[in-house]
Amino acid sequence: MRGPEPNSRRFPKVHRLGLALLLGFLLIAVLAEVIAPYDPWQRFQPYLSPRPEHWLGTNDLGNDILSELLHGTRVSLLVGLGTAGIATALGLVVGLISGYFRGAVDELLMGLTDVMLMIPRIPMVIILAAFLKSGYGVIVLVLGLLWWTPTARIVRSKVLQVRESAFVAGQRTLGFGHLRIMFSDILPNILHVLSPKFMLTVASAMITEASLSFLGLGDPGVKSWGMMIHFAFEKGGFIRDLWWWYTAPGLAITLCVLSLVLIGFAAGKEEPVAAALPG
């Protein structure tokens, strides 16, 4: 057929692949206890190479690496989703209020956003993690509180646009209050920019957690992919050429992030707001 291609309503193949991958990871996270061959803290002979009883061998403590990997899915996903959840929720609220009310409120909030944007995030997280020293909960909170700014900006510009639609003015004259309009009218029309950003934030959070753990700032009492790589390097896995020890979690991180990125970028939804003309 000649002519320009219409926006495909169905999810494109790339999106479906990402979705399938992510679902796989989610299943693993939920069913880790059932699927894993052993308890990840159970000790066997250390530094074993892959064999029928231990498909990915064992680590320095003798834990089965495959079981570690499967259990680690839970932590990584929780950190990613938790961080993205907090960051997105915060960014949404700030962007919504800023874009809707404009004026002084907007100036104030955007000023705050600019200040936050100036803080170098990774170094900040490293410092905070080093000082606070406690578990992943804190890391999730800290990351979430630092990472809402890009979302806020994106939400704000979309809100500014939607706000100019005639129907928003119409809702005001009908008598609807500000809160109602923000959440019932504007929010549904900006969700399509929010979901890709959410996905990408999950991906970034997972990588950051892995990096932090790799640097030794994670919680050694918890099995995560990042910690696995950390110990693989720290406890002689690299030197002894036990490549499966650090490659497996590395691959897991890569695939999981890839799945999120595929979903985030390939979102095939059309923009719901048709026109944005002043009344």
């Binding site: 639609s165 005639a166 129907f167 003015a169 119409g170 809702q171 005001r172 004259t173 009908l174 008598g175 609807f176 019932s184 009218d185 549904p188 029309n189 719901p272 707001v273 048709a274 026109a275 944005a276 003309l277 009344g279």
Partner: protein
């Protein structure tokens, strides 16, 4: 002479940009007018004449820089929250752009239900269906989304939602300029019959002098923010209208 519903006295609107104020734009100057119940006041002018701004001020959407707008004797700037809520119900505004008149993600039925809930009106199907029929639509459009309806149909739905609140005065900002001329004729007749049935007052904003003559008893001709003519529509001379660009 029917009662005066709305009065504008010495209204002006000045927009300032830059901070501290560097540029000022005088959009309206010295506007004085009255809207009586059951009648139509037309506001006609070229684009840039300030007519939309005036409409928004009368509907209570924007506040004037100077002067007062009163509704049934009470100044809008001095209304208590309770009085404001009552005003908000009685004075409504229909906007120009039918594409943007309704939330694109809500079905027509939902758009009606939320107004019903807001106003504490029964949202039974019969009430909504009757309302739809009043504006010339069939209830079968209820499950549809705005983009599945034509501009004229969307405009009618917006009008029906307004009627749900039983207003006394509706400010209509060029409601038919974006529509086909044949659909315009239908909407104009609909507006007129609704006015008779419900004793509605209209403030009708337009740039087409023929529409104004057809719809309005009294007319205010705006030219670059100032009143160039004010009086009965029959008394507006064509050359005066032409000089203001309409």
């Amino acid at each position: 002479m029917s009662a005066v519903l709305m009065k504008a006295q010495d209204v002006c609107q000045v927009f300032r940009s830059g901070w501290p104020a560097r540029r000022t734009l005088e959009v309206l100057q010295d506007i004085n007018l009255k809207v009586r119940s059951g009648q139509t006041l037309g506001i006609v002018g070229d684009s840039g004449s300030g007519k939309t701004t005036l409409g928004r001020i009368l509907a209570g959407v924007d506040r004037p820089t100077c002067g007062t707008v009163s509704y049934k004797g009470s100044r809008l700037s001095g209304l208590t929250p309770v009085q404001w809520a009552a005003f908000r119900r009685r004075v409504q505004m229909l906007f120009q752009d039918p594409e943007g008149a309704l939330n694109p993600v809500k079905t027509i039925r939902r758009s009606f239900e939320e107004v019903g809930r807001l106003a504490g009106i029964s949202k039974s199907e019969t009430v909504v269906s009757d309302l739809l029929r009043t504006v010339g639509l069939s209830p079968e459009i209820l499950p549809r989304l705005p983009r599945q309806l034509s501009g004229g149909q969307n405009q009618r739905v917006a009008l029906a939602r307004i009627l749900m609140l039983e207003p006394e005065l509706i400010v209509l900002d060029e409601p038919t300029s974006a529509l086909d001329v044949s659909v315009q004729a239908q909407i104009l007749h609909l507006l007129k019959s609704l006015q008779r049935q419900r004793n509605l007052a209209y403030v009708y904003i337009a740039h087409d002098i023929r529409v104004i003559r057809f719809m309005c008893d009294q007319v205010v001709l705006l030219d670059k923010g100032g009143v160039k003519f004010q009086g009965r529509s029959e008394e507006l001379r064509p050359d005066v209208a032409l000089s203001a660009g309409v």
